[in-house]
């Protein structure tokens, strides 16, 4: 930028006045945010997997929220969840769109050990379980019908007779999910167990990490974009995955989504934004600014009753983000969800990005995932309640969230009412009742919770 050379006294006077006025205005305007300093590291690289709930990251980039914070972010799709996690651990990625279980599993040492923390929850809900056309035809015999349409939620009880037939015939009933510590794995297992189908145990202390011990349904890992292909090929009879892969199955005519995770556990936590602990300690300002940008993006996504969703879908349909067709993505993000082809129902909270305090990292969410890891044997020995609380506190970082939120409130970008009351928030939600099997979850009593299930480990070691 060229500043013109002042030749005369009046010119010099005027430019002095201009500069000092600007300075005065800028300084006055910026004293409020003088608390949060400049980002220490401004060139960042974030990873994601091609799922619609990476939206906050894409929106924060495309709407310029990262740039407003002085951050120059490159966003890269990763090949699968393992590559993504390894990328964050070895520093190739500064942060990533992660499954809620990944920071927890990495910190406790299930899989590659690394201390990963999360200051931001990316969304609630957003998954569904799809079965192949063949299985759906068989299930329809058992599913109750009202007005010609199947009654929802479709419990796994209606699939049990088919699984039993497979077992009798000696054929394995295979189902896909995306990663051993994925929300999809736990939701799928929860749904199957609620229908009395045993999804298998893990026995890592014995070297068995297949998760198929005593299983009636065999669960295996497939990266999300490859799910429809494996279903089509007949390798699996169903899968649990995020969007757009369930709607993709409907569009391609290869499968039928039977239930969304919204119906399994209403407003369940889904993805988080994960970074290494070292990163958050070395670059605290950067971390807080990243969270600020993401909160703004999440707010935009849910603003005015999902009014911005079509614009968000347009962004996600770009080939460098999710890349699926606009219609396929819009099918689940704009307030509806299509089950059987033609059976589109209204599910406005299929994806929740900001409402219901979706972005706040609640400790009770972390504890739920830990209890499910214990239930299925990924944590091989029983642990005292305090262990659950300690792990949750070391991984989930509402303190960083609070710093970012306070900045946003000061800048007037988000109102204080849209955040939980930081003074009184303990991080543990009130006991949650809206599960498909009606078991109540109280995050402050993890071991008591584990004892309520008929299928699942309690105090025993396999």
């Amino acid at each position: 930028m060229q500043f013109s050379k002042a030749h005369t006294f009046t010119d010099r006077l005027f430019s002095c006045v201009k500069v000092s006025l600007t300075l005065a205005l800028l300084i006055n305007g910026t004293t409020a945010i003088a608390e949060l300093g400049e980002p220490e590291k401004d060139q960042l690289r974030f990873g994601f997997i091609k799922l619609t709930d990476m939206a906050p990251i894409a929106v924060a980039y495309e709407n310029g929220y990262f740039e407003d914070e002085g951050l120059y972010v490159t966003i890269e799709a990763q090949a699968n969840w393992k590559v993504l996690l390894d990328g964050v651990i070895d520093g190739r990625l500064d942060g990533a769109h992660m499954l809620a279980g990944q920071p927890l599993a990495a910190t406790i040492g299930y899989g590659t050990k690394a201390h990963i923390v999360t200051p931001f929850s990316m969304d609630l809900n957003g998954n569904a379980i799809t079965v192949s056309n063949n299985i759906w035809e068989q299930m329809k015999e058992y599913v109750p019908v009202e007005d010609g349409k199947p009654v929802h939620p479709i419990k796994a009880d209606y699939m049990k007779p088919i699984v039993d037939k497979f077992t009798e015939a000696g054929k394995p009933f295979k189902v896909g999910m995306v990663f051993p510590v994925s929300t999809h794995n736990y939701e799928l297992r929860y749904w199957l167990a609620a229908g009395n189908i045993h999804p298998g145990y893990y026995a890592p202390h014995k070297g068995d990490s297949s998760g198929t011990l005593n299983a009636q349904a065999l669960l295996s890992v497939t990266p999300p974009p490859q799910m429809p292909a494996t279903l089509e090929a007949g390798t699996i009879q169903g899968y649990c995955v995020g969007e757009p892969w369930n709607q993709q199955a409907v569009f391609k005519g290869i499968g039928v989504p039977v239930i969304t995770d919204y119906e399994i556990w209403k407003n369940n936590p889904e993805k988080v934004f994960g970074m290494t602990k070292e990163f958050t300690e070395q670059y605290p300002n950067t971390t807080a600014r990243v969270v600020k940008a993401l909160i703004r993006a999440a707010k935009w996504l849910d603003e005015n009753d999902n009014a911005n969703r079509p614009a968000a879908v347009k962004i996600l349909a770009q080939s460098n983000y999710v890349g699926a067709d606009y219609d396929v993505i819009a099918n689940s993000m704009t307030g509806t969800f299509e089950y059987e082809k033609g059976d589109k129902r209204s599910v406005p909270d299929f994806n929740v990005f900001f409402r219901h305090f979706a972005t706040y990292p609640f400790y009770s969410d972390a504890v739920w995932y830990l209890t499910q890891m214990r239930r299925w044997g990924q944590i091989s020995k029983p642990k005292p309640d305090q262990w659950y609380f300690d792990v949750a506190a070391s991984v989930y970082r509402p303190d960083i969230y609070k710093t970012a939120a306070m900045e946003l409130i000061e800048e007037g970008l988000v109102s204080a009412a849209e955040f939980p009351d930081f003074a009184s928030e303990s991080g543990y939600r009130a006991p949650q009742k809206e599960f498909i099997d009606e078991v109540v979850y109280d995050g402050t009593q993890p071991n008591a919770y584990l004892k309520k299930f008929s299928i699942g480990l309690k105090d025993e070691v396999l």
């Binding site: 974009p225 490859q226 391609k252 999710v322 699926a324």
Partner: protein
């Protein structure tokens, strides 16, 4: 005979000559231009018919018209991205200016564009990755080939290793190369991307074998007379290699180089898909993962591009070979 007669006779023969040369030119054009064109047109026709009869779950198999559509889209996206880049730099300049206005001593940085690489950026990335791999391979392969060609003992010692590693697929090398690069290439300000190095070295490992084999055959089959001449003149080894061995082995060395480059280009696409180097291989992989209705068309565009670039690279090597070869009578295809 008067001058008019001579004049008319000369112009008559000139006319006949130009007619003859016209006919020759016409014949050559038909052979060199029309025949290939006819082949291409027939192929496109068959492709279009076959494509409209294959329906996949992602839509109809892409025919030539889809490929044309998608290539136009890719060019448009490229232009859009360049515009976005300009807007990005404008915003950055404004931001930096504001910072400087607030504090003239502020440390303002110019950051590179953070947006996605366009199709043409990816083509460029693939090209320089394959060049890197090819050059690494050449620097290893030619000396190795010369050594094995000159010394029968060296050949006997090294040949089993060459023959064992020659058939190994790039996909088998890739995990090992990835682990080695990750372990050894650690620096705070890396000059090269790890994915680039992984792809480049995988390409090198797979494409050095044709050059090694052809070089050693070329060197070993040097004319006996030349060997005798060098003995008579008592030429030192370096001079002997430089003036006699290499020039006489050039035809076969270049055959090896051409095969290596072709192999390298093929291997590159596979290596990029797995190592996620941002080139054409990654483009195809990402499109496949996207599973949109335009994905197959875009993948086909990439396939055609890969083919055309491979063809151009080969023709470049051929041109180079023709210039360097001393035997101008030899027919080089």
């Amino acid at each position: 005979m008067n001058s008019a007669n001579i004049g008319s006779k000369i112009s008559q023969s000139l006319a006949q000559l130009s007619l003859a040369s016209l006919l020759v030119w016409l014949q050559r054009t038909v052979k060199n231009l029309l025949l290939p064109l006819t082949g291409i047109v027939i192929f496109l026709f068959i492709w279009q018919i076959a494509a409209s009869n294959i329906i996949t779950s992602l839509g109809q198999f892409p025919g030539p018209s889809d490929v044309w559509q998608q290539s136009k889209t890719l060019v448009a996206e490229h232009r859009q991205e360049r515009q976005k880049a300009e807007a990005f730099f404008t915003r950055q300049d404004l931001r930096n200016a504001k910072k400087l206005a607030k504090n003239p001593n502020a440390n303002v940085k110019i950051r590179p564009y953070t947006g996605k690489a366009t199709y043409f950026d990816q083509i460029f990335t693939s090209l320089y990755t394959v060049m890197f791999g090819f050059l690494v391979a050449t620097f290893i392969a030619i000396p190795l080939g010369i050594l094995c060609g000159l010394s029968a003992n060296a050949y006997r010692a090294i040949n089993p290793i060459i023959q064992t590693f020659k058939p190994v697929s790039p996909l088998a090398w890739l995990p090992l190369v990835t682990m080695v690069v990750s372990a050894l290439y650690i620096s705070d300000e890396p000059m090269f991307e790890k994915a680039f190095l992984t792809s480049g070295f995988t390409v090198a490992l797979c494409c050095l074998w044709p050059t090694v084999v052809n070089t050693l055959v070329g060197v070993a089959s040097i004319d006996r007379d030349l060997i005798d001449v060098s003995r008579v003149l008592r030429l030192s080894s370096p001079v002997y290699i430089k003036t006699m061995v290499i020039p006489s082995a050039i035809p076969l060395i270049f055959t090896g180089l051409r095969l290596s480059l072709a192999t390298g280009w093929m291997v590159l696409i596979a290596a990029e898909m797995l190592a996620q180097n941002p080139g054409l291989g990654k483009f195809i992989w990402d499109e496949f993962q996207n599973g949109s209705s335009s994905s197959l068309g875009r993948i086909m565009v990439a396939v055609v591009t890969i083919g055309i670039i491979g063809f151009i690279l080969d023709q470049l090597m051929l041109g180079l070979q023709k210039r360097v070869s001393w035997d101008k009578q030899a027919i080089l295809r």
